[in-house]
Symmetry: C2
Subunit: 118 residues, 2 copies
């Protein structure tokens, strides 16, 4: 049958690397801000500069990474380039993560307590 479907995959180093890379793309406040700014639709780079407050060059680099990770799509629109969320998967990921935040506060507290123990 060769279960190509949702079967549990082998955790090969290559797969781990690929998955880690995707997570890494989301492991940066600036990029999360960009994704957030795209939540209500397509935006040009200039619009994203306004919305996020990032410098143009910096923003461009982050956009490349998000694009390479498959989180956003690109489209030339005359002089502009319009970026958009590739799908709602990112939002689901962030939602899952945000839910964890509230419940994780206690653990964080414990860690802090451990850190300053003694």
């Amino acid at each position: 049958m060769s279960p190509k479907r949702a079967a549990v995959r082998q955790a090969t180093p290559q797969l781990l690397e690929r998955v880690a890379g995707r997570f890494r793309a989301l492991a940066e406040p600036a990029r999360l801000a960009v994704l957030h700014a795209l939540e209500d639709g397509e935006r040009s780079v200039s619009e994203l500069v306004e919305r996020t407050g990032l410098a143009q060059g910096n923003l461009s680099k982050h956009l490349q990474q998000l694009y390479a990770a498959g989180f956003v799509t690109r489209r030339r629109d005359g002089l502009f380039v319009q970026y958009a969320l590739a799908d709602d998967g990112v939002l689901r990921l962030c939602a899952l993560m945000c839910d964890r935040l509230d419940e994780g506060v206690e653990a964080e507290r414990a860690v802090l307590a451990t850190a300053k123990r003694r």
Copy 2:
């Protein structure tokens, strides 16, 4: 009403930083390997060393980060310390990410083509 529920949150810098931090904890093959090694139950550090092939000190650091991020729990068991997945949220996150991988291959191809264009 002060919507503390699943309402859309403000994307404050602090929140972005916190969320990014959580993603950062998953943005490393070694830590994903650890989580994978915990999929079928509690494991001691020594067992994790065997299963992941990581050096003890190195593994310990990764475990601290996973713990601080709230992905794993800790429990003293005599001479050992047993780690376990805090909940199945991590698995859901990874599953979501893995699903994206297959579909993202095309985009990656495009990026590569762009990189070596000319």
